[in-house]
């Protein structure tokens, strides 16, 4: 089997029922998708499968053989953050960071399908994602800003505090 992961076609050796999450983390060493609940309840493992947000922990490899997979590593780089990554940085939308990868992938899918900055629509799109730091307000603000196409000053947060140690949110 093979996957195109962040644009790179990659042969895969894991068994056909291995979860996509385990393929990414254990076989390929791509660690932005997090192994949270591993039963679909938290959203920390969400990646894009042919552009659609999917829980990688629920997805058997054989069901996505040949698919294009996008993870946070495929959004941007520490030097060139994607608009969603910039928005999460500027709005300080990561606290412990565990949910951040899944939140950003859901946000990316939402924006890719033309989602607006409407908070209710964003909540619906991110409804499967749990943040136990309860930082939802800033996360939703960040997604709304990215959906609007705001540009961001990455030296300060939206509240004015200097950003000194967030080289990249990943």
């Amino acid at each position: 089997m093979n996957l195109t992961v962040n644009g790179v076609e990659t042969p895969i050796e894991s068994g056909p029922l291995t979860s996509l999450l385990d393929v990414l983390r254990e076989e390929l060493g791509i660690t932005s998708p997090k192994a949270g609940c591993e039963q679909g309840g938290c959203g920390a493992c969400t990646v894009l499968v042919d552009g659609e947000p999917r829980r990688s922990c629920l997805t058997p490899l054989a069901a996505v053989d040949g698919a294009a997979i996008t993870t946070v590593e495929g959004l941007g780089s520490p030097e060139r953050l994607s608009p969603v990554q910039q928005a999460f940085t500027h709005h300080y939308a990561a606290q412990c960071g565990f949910c951040t990868s899944g939140m950003m992938m859901a946000a990316q899918a939402y924006i890719d399908r033309g989602g607006s900055d409407d908070h209710e629509a964003i909540q619906e799109a991110l409804g499967g994602h749990v943040c136990r730091c309860t930082g939802y307000v800033k996360i939703i603000d960040a997604v709304a800003a990215a959906a609007r196409g705001d540009s961001f000053d990455l030296t300060v947060t939206a509240s004015g505090a200097a950003i000194t140690n967030l080289g990249g949110v990943a």
Binding site: G15, P16, E38, R55, L58, H129
Partner: protein, 263 residues
Amino acid sequence: MAAEVLVPSSPAEAVALFRDGAATTVIGGGTVVVPAITSGRLDPGRVLLLSRAGLDGVTVDGDTVTIGATTPIEALLALAEHASALAACARNLADCEIRGQGTVGGNLCVGAGYEAPRGDLQGCLLALDARVRSAGPDGERTEPLEDFLAGRRGRLLLDVAFERPAASAFVALAYPHTHEYTVLAVSGARGADGTVRLAATGVAGPGARLRSAEAAAADPEAAGAAAVSDVTFADDALASAWYREQTLPVLVRRVLSHLEESA
């Protein structure tokens, strides 16, 4: 890990590989089976993965709506004009990512959960008087969903169909919990001939018709009280049997009230 994983590329191939279903684990979207495998609760020997079998899709022919087995649950949200209850029931189920992956057939065939009721769509499709087309060793047959749920071992669900009702309604208990499973929900539909059907999800076992409540449907108060005798309540991680028993009559009354409003 499974020794044998079969990935049919057509409905006919899926039926042939399913045979009588013995010792075969069927995966629709994987949302239930994959976590069970990952956690070690399930070690299947033979797996039939339906994601490429061409069993997905919704067709509307006149008043008949037919939903293929591997149609993602998310697709039901677009059926509000045909059966508002089904769209509402689907929308109440998990979130858009899970709904995009989980399948209608999987939701109808899933067994009772370990910690919460499963099969959110069962009650709603029972209320819509849905019929199931399935395949087994003796060929294809079409039967009421209720019969299929009672004896589905050895049969592969191909599609589920219903006639557009005159009105339908869905009411779920709003009971926030970290689990997305439905705690308790009641669906109702009034057919073109005026017949009212009611069914519950979140009681013990699969979705259940509320026949005593249907018989008393003209009096919502009596129907709510009667519904309690139609089902068995169970304790689980989401709610107690006692709590469900107290709330079922309320949901029945609300569904009947919605049906009345849309008369």
